[in-house]
């Protein structure tokens, strides 16, 4: 039987990135239990607290923090700015998503095309180069043959919001049940590195 599980505290921006973290942790060869779920409600909170997470993490109770780089192009530059090399340790996994979490979802072109009911050719081949991956996803949803999906993901006409009324409720099940993380990792370097960090964690 497996040894004592490793108790992870996870930090995320919203329920969509929370679902992504759950999928990532399932790749670990270790028995993992999530004990603390910290919803940062955006990246501002995570930026302000990231050094606390590094100092709180201990061997059997590590942290996994997932944050969008937003406007920042270079994850490494952002990391240096938020956590200077001397303040880092291996008990806190801090993974930066290039731009937005949607770029990791879009990287599974086959899964997205089936889920949205659109041609795979319409999806960007290099999601990490998109300036606004969320908008790309919504533009794709607009052309969906599935009315239900389009209504859920696309802002209703006459509203001034960025996403549709059931955006996270619709994409969370996609992440949980459809999203092919390994195939997505082939198109997204930041996802590939995150997967690698999870798999090799603790070894």
């Amino acid at each position: 039987m497996p040894a004592t599980p490793v108790f992870f505290s996870i930090v995320f921006e919203d329920s969509l990135s929370e679902a992504v973290i759950e999928r990532l942790l399932k790749l670990s060869p270790m028995e993992i239990s999530i004990v603390r779920r910290i919803n940062g409600r955006g990246s501002g909170y995570i930026r302000s607290r990231i050094r606390s997470f590094f100092s709180a993490a201990v061997h059997q109770e590590p942290f996994l923090v997932l944050m969008d780089s937003d406007k920042e192009d270079c994850a490494l530059h952002l990391l240096d700015k938020l956590v200077p090399p001397g303040k880092r340790n291996r008990k806190c996994l801090f993974r930066i998503v290039i731009r937005e979490i949607e770029s990791w979802l879009l990287a599974d072109t086959r899964g997205i095309s089936q889920f949205l009911g659109i041609s795979e050719a319409m999806i960007s081949r290099r999601p990490e180069t998109l300036a606004d991956p969320k908008d790309h996803l919504i533009q794709l949803a607009r052309r969906s043959k599935k009315k239900d999906i389009a209504d859920a993901l696309v802002p209703a006409p006459g509203t001034s919001v960025v996403v549709g009324p059931e955006y996270n409720q619709t994409l969370v099940p996609f992440v949980r049940n459809i999203w092919d993380i390994n195939s997505a990792a082939k198109r997204s370097e930041s996802l590939r590195r995150a997967v690698e960090a999870i798999i090799t964690f603790g070894t």
Binding site: P2, K26, S28, V35, E61
Partner: protein, 388 residues
């Protein structure tokens, strides 16, 4: 006097509990983790100690029988056990341990009975049951000595302490229209039903001072509030009156029937905090209470516990309330449900929590995520990684 430590075995959904309690305690946990059940042990002791209209048999009956009180996970050891450590600097340094073990008759009407009952005063045994009298007359075991004035002379202070425990869970509709309530009142006023009567019985000067303090707290949410007063109407019925700044004289007057739910709850809560020195149990004060008042609560509670030497246990879910950085992990009990029942721990037991608090995070940030509903989901490599 206050409760310094509580130990439980097979109490409701708790197989085993052993926690130390400071003057101010916040009990947090996901829905259905047993926050109310945890607070209920103190109400249970009060119901036993009440004597007239109370007592062990009634206290168990009110809870639906011993099988409802006993932990569902209990198998081999059916005893329900409660052990309370009492002390404090305000009663001449006396400290007590009260312990009670309960089981039920094996035949007949299967009444709940005392398996053992004991009291230590300053480390010395002043009550050990069962004694010879119990052996000679087993009927005696259907009652505790806590509930009997004739038998608790050596620890009457303890009985009085339990008897005065106060429970607060105000429902605004019941303050407004007490005639609508149906359940019989059981000696105390858990739902604030007779709140106005209580106000009327309080000496005028005391009432004025308390209302003044409440008024100051309410100004946070209602800056136009000028004065809060307690005045009889033309028929002599007492009413709470709020006077507001208004350009027309006499236009800015409201009585309690016009108050919002949040205002009524706030008034009821802030009044009760100031009333007496007994242990106060407060159930989810954030429900229908204005968020700004909720944020102030930990500070207000601290002030009262300090000045009145009053101990308070607050069950809460509230992120706003627990955002107060003055709340220590040593003051926070976290309940974690599992298959075998719920466990209770001080938040300070966890090294990661302590480290997070020390780096400037609040209980809301560091501990509330431990009580997230999706918690304790075991992930394993057996999950299909692609999910297909």
């Amino acid at each position: 006097m206050r409760i310094q430590r509580i130990k439980l075995k097979n109490w409701r959904n708790f197989p085993k509990v052993d926690v130390t309690l400071l003057n101010r305690i916040f009990v947090i946990g996901p829905n259905a983790s047993g926050k109310s059940n945890f607070l209920d042990v103190f109400r249970f002791l009060r119901d036993i100690a009440r004597g007239q209209g109370g007592g062990l048999q009634q206290a168990i009956k009110d809870r639906g029988g011993l099988s409802k009180v006993r932990c569902f996970a209990a198998r081999t050891n059916p005893l329900v056990e409660i052990e309370v450590y009492l002390g404090g600097d305000d009663n001449g340094g006396q400290n007590y341990v009260y312990r009670l073990g309960l089981t039920q008759e094996t035949r007949g009407s299967r009444r709940p009975i005392v398996k053992y009952e004991g009291v230590l005063r300053n480390g010395k045994e002043v009550l050990v049951r069962p004694d010879e009298k119990d052996d000679a007359d087993t009927e005696r075991l259907t009652e505790t000595h806590l509930e009997q004035t004739s038998a608790n002379k050596e620890f009457r202070e303890v009985a009085a302490f339990f008897n005065s425990v106060c429970y607060l869970h105000i429902v605004p509709q019941m303050v407004r229209a007490p005639e609508m309530s149906i359940a019989p009142l059981q000696g105390d006023d858990p739902f604030g039903r007779t709140f106005l009567e209580r106000l009327a019985k309080t000496p005028h000067k005391t009432t004025k001072g308390r209302l003044k303090r409440i008024e100051n707290a309410l100004k946070i949410i209602a800056p136009q509030l000028k004065e809060l007063a307690f005045e009889p109407d033309s028929k002599g019925q007492p009413h709470l009156i709020a006077k507001y700044e208004h350009w027309r004289p006499d236009a800015g007057r409201q009585d309690e029937t016009q108050f919002s739910d949040g205002t009524l709850r706030a008034i009821g809560l802030l009044w009760t905090l100031q009333e007496g020195t007994a242990l106060l149990l407060i159930e989810e004060p954030e429900l229908s209470l204005n968020g700004e008042i909720v944020k102030q609560l930990p500070g207000i509670i601290s002030k009262v516990t300090r000045k009145n030497k009053r101990q308070m246990l607050v069950s809460t879910h509230s992120y706003e309330l627990l955002s107060d950085k003055g709340i220590a992990p040593e003051e926070t009990i976290i309940l974690k449900p599992a298959k075998e029942g719920t466990t209770a721990h001080l938040a300070s037991d966890d090294i990661v929590t302590r480290e997070m608090i020390q780096s400037g995070m609040s209980i809301a940030e560091a501990v509330l995520p431990l009580a997230a509903p999706e918690n304790a989901i075991q992930l394993s490599m057996r999950f299909d990684a692609t999910g297909n």
